[in-house]
Amino acid sequence: MTYEITVNGRVHTRLPAAGQCLRTYLRADGWYGVKKGCDAGDCGACTVHVDGMPVHSCLYPALRADGREVTTVEGLAAGERLHPVQQAFLGARGFQCGFCTPGMVMTAAALTPEQSQDLPDALRGNLCRCTGYRAVVDAIRTAADHGSSARHIEEEPCGEAVHGRSEPDPAGQAVVTGAARYTLDADLPGVLHLKLLRSPYAHARITALHTADALDVPGVRLVLTHHDVPGVRFSTGMHEQADDEPFDTRVLDGVVRYAGQRVTAVVAETEAAAEEGCRRLRVDYEVLPAVTDPHAALTRKAPRVHPGGNVVHEVHRTSGDVDGVFAQADCVYEATFRTQRVQHAALETHAARAWLDEAGRLTVRTATQTPHLVRRALCRVLNLPPRQVRVVAGRVGGGFGGKQELLCEDIVALAAWRLRRPVQLEYTRGEEFTSTTRHPFDIHLTAAARRDGTLTGLKLRIICDAGAYGNHSPSVLERACQDVTGMYRWGAVAVDGHRRLHPHRAVRGFSRLRTRAGHFRHGVGPRRTRPPARYCPAGLSPA
């Protein structure tokens, strides 16, 4: 069977795998402007044109492109001259992280004038997690009407003035042409692929692992179990102060504490072989009693998630005469607020690659907001000196706090170290949702006030569901309990916070928003509350 497609004018004849989508085919041949966001046809980051027709290349069978012409974002410009849409995205700065931009550009370049009139409809297949779409819409409108109605576009800088005007994004040109390099946007010859088998149980002990069938799969090079990894415990939450967080996590553990936790890793020549290896693994579990409700977890009878119990952190603070002000209050407001688990949904999923450089030094390229802290953690987990470990980040395709987390690096580093070969792990969108989310909160708030609008007292009881591991939990709870009191001037404050031990991650705002949201629901309403009650330096905040 022969196969031939033309990509941006270049002919490719390599035959795709039977079930391969066009997105991975194009990326494997170096067209890294084609991004994986959702891999399910929803986010549009992989948009390309096939014979001029815009499609989501993650849904397009690669074999079907036979005999066709494909244009990716790399092929949109006419030589050095940018396509008008690219120019408009550059001018309006229609991007932040830029991971969605190639798909946005390719979609916008294919819109009819009618479609450009209704952008919420035309862009329903394109997600941006950074901009809030305003800058994207500005860019597309600019391109559609040749700039005549453009707003928020920087004029060409005039004269030598360096103050009072915005500088263009230094990476802008690379972002709009697809040349910006994110974590996996580079050829790494001989790279092996790692896939994780995850626990179906919320709490279980692994009693036996049968790996022979998985190792028999052609292409499988290694199966890692909890018997093969260092015993050292660490926190996946990356903080400058390492002891902010409890060291309760192992690379692979003999006990799993949430549905979705890593059980084993399979490393193979292809993702297909690694997935097949995972399907052939057999694991015997002793299912243990689980607790999934944070209130139930605080009771004495609750199953213990960790030997030390179910409370990872507590905050109890009082300032002023709380009982006194409540006794004398003109009105008391009491309510409970609940927030749910939320996923950051950065368009670039978590991913990492590890290899040994010419000097034998472990090198990790990862989608992280904290490369220096990842390096420190890897040294500790693998027992390597800092000079043996180098951690780099490419351009990061959205983080929002979710990439302040060690989720891929430890296991790929370990596999690469063992095999002396490059190893890569790329999370699927499904894995993002099962293993990284923001903490749900229960906030019971009681506020006392005088008739003139003066807020005299605040009592907070906060239960935070930390999930099965303590990563970020103490600091998130501290922020929630501490910063909440900073918005208004309170006469007296009492705060009680508990975190129960799915693990959760840092998210932008870092908890302050949740407890503050509770404030805005006071009976008097923000407009009437604020003037007499707003915070001033003399206001009280518990130490």
Partner: protein
Amino acid sequence: MDLTSVREVCDARHRPQWEAGDAWLAGGTYLFSEPQPQLRRLLDLGRMGWDALRVTPGGLEIAATCTIAQLNAFVPPEGMAWPVAGALFGPCCRAFSSSFKVWNTATVGGNICLALPAAPLVCLAAALEGECVLLAQNGGQRRMPVARLVTGAGRTALAEGELLRSVLLPARALRRRAAVRRAALRPQGRSAALLLATVDPGDGTWRVTVTASTTRPVVLPFDRPPTAQALRDALEQAVGPDGWVDDVHGHPAWRRHMTLLLAEELRTELTADEEGA
């Protein structure tokens, strides 16, 4: 996404023998959107060469491989008084929560056979008395109304290996007057209720079709314009207390409320037209 367990893509023109682990590949926009570890072969309909849309004396034949974009662009030939095409085809195509880029390759047949409650072409075809032409593995052929092909959320009456060849919309249904209503949690969101009503300008019969809020298509024929109460009663009885869809795209009580509300809107609109005419 890559379907890593798939070993082979077979050209369906060569009539491959159906095996366990096979799936028909039309546009691929559903198949490639989720892991499919059970699949070993894809039987590719991409080169069948079926006419996407064929106007016949009896009506309109829509091939299973007709894309949503092709249906959306359909204009009845000159002289064909098919008001339904203008009134319903566009709104139903745009009722997809997915992008216009997905409509370029997603197919009518795929949407019907996936049989999701929100599938807008199930609603369209059921409302227009569409009949499925089904090809069996042994070469046999049978026909079945679309409204009976879809038996539940994601469930159909298709036999193992049976293939949807086309949907026939009779000319009499295309000559009816029609109106459409849709509810979703957000403007471009997945349909939580999709209702089509048609009236025959000749004999005055009505047909009200509900999908998205119900687990299977509900089609209610009326000999004459129904009263508000008769329409409401007929809907409640046909759907039953457990027939409302319950998922993240809408609470069943809300779906029921919106369905009854939108049905009444349709009734009022088409009755007003009738009186105006």
